[in-house]
Amino acid sequence: MREETERNARSKASIEQRVAATKEALIDAGRITQADLDQFASMAEDWRPENGAKVVARAWTDPDFRARLLEDATSACAEMGYAGPQGEYIVALENTPDRHNVIVCTQCSCTAWPVLGLPPDWYKSPAYRARVVREPRKVLREMGLWLSDEVAIRVWETSAETRYMVIPLRPEGARSLNEDALANLVSREALIGVALAAPPAIQSPDNVGITSHSF
């Protein structure tokens, strides 16, 4: 109690100071090295949503791969070179014209790092974590994705060790594109399920009752 009072009287160290102090203390004590830290940081920078986008593009163009991905996404992603921490058990969720999938981690901020990358700020925000399980349709609308009331929304809560990725619908008008060009249509937001795969030119949404609207 007295200790707590003294602590309150002192000023708080900034987050930059706290990170630097922790790093120095661990390196000085010989617990870890700068090389260890560099290794993990650059690993994180290799986990990119572009990886997941390539997985999606292949699933759109290769029916056998799509079948393997839906059956065992962990192996299908690994065969493209995407594996590692937070990718030990991946499940792919395929959107259909009448069912849309969206991912959240309400209790912390888990994502499938090897294919989605570290989570973006909005995914980690208390607002997204609190709201999307309860009012997904409203949240998606605010984020620019209008789903028809006929489309059922499945919200996947990352509460245990399964890590999810969404396979968005292949946009209309993208029939002639090759796998690389298709991958460019798939954003991190589409892999989480708060956006559609972007159409190559102007969108023609009427056929599936789904429109993407930004404001």
Partner: protein, 210 residues
């Protein structure tokens, strides 16, 4: 633990802002914070991921809500390093030049009274109910689904049981299940008949619905 971290369904939060072309890290300290979290768990092996998640859950609620994700990452990590004697609070505060806010203590009775389930008890299509328990320690069944009934739609492999793993308990593994709950069963203010929430739940969180 019925903590602030268990946010699913909590109302009163505002708009969600999406940053276009967001970088992996916005600031160099976030990159270091992430690397420290990984290095302490994987190289130093000072603690496991369940202890780490629970340390973040033990943060002061207002601090938790307001701070950046990578500040939570650092706070959880350093709290465990101090608790386990790898670092002293005095040393890191001296080095940081000020107060280093850490997580609160673990409850003195963190474990729920849950029976280990070595074999899978549930099959696809089974109707299950999540136990309506409220242990003071780590638990990964979100509050919003406790006491509610859903349907098993997938069985995942066995994974370490977080409630005991976070508290130096038995290192058992159990299957988890993807359990689908109708949104309107979870929240009475919802009427979207088709919408559902799927939660990934360990075997011993569940019982057969009657």
């Amino acid at each position: 633990m019925d903590g602030i971290h268990d946010l699913g369904g909590t109302q009163g939060f505002g708009h969600i802002d999406v940053e276009a072309d967001e970088p992996v890290f916005h600031h160099p300290w976030q990159r270091t914070s992430f690397a420290l979290m990984m290095a302490t768990q994987i190289i130093l092996r000072s603690h496991n991921a369940d202890e780490y998640r629970h340390a973040i859950e033990r943060m002061d609620p207002a601090h938790y809500l307001l701070c950046d994700y990578y500040e939570r990452v650092l706070t959880g990590t350093v709290s465990l390093l101090v608790e386990k004697g790898y670092l002293s609070r005095e040393d890191v505060e001296r080095r940081a030049g000020g107060v280093f806010e850490l997580a609160g203590p673990v409850s003195d009775r963190p474990l729920a009274d849950l029976t280990p389930q070595p074999e899978a008890r549930f099959n696809l299509g089974d109707r299950v109910r999540v136990l309506n328990i409220s242990p003071s320690g780590h638990i990964r069944a979100p509050k919003f689904c406790r006491g509610h009934e859903g349907t098993v739609i997938h069985r995942a492999p066995k994974f370490r049981f977080p409630d005991t793993s976070a508290h130096d308990g038995e290192r058992r593994k159990e299957h988890t299940y993807h359990v689908e709950f109708k949104s309107k069963d979870l929240w009475s203010d919802r009427d979207a008949a088709n919408d559902s929430v799927i939660v990934d739940l360990w075997d011993s969180y569940l019982e057969f619905a009657l």
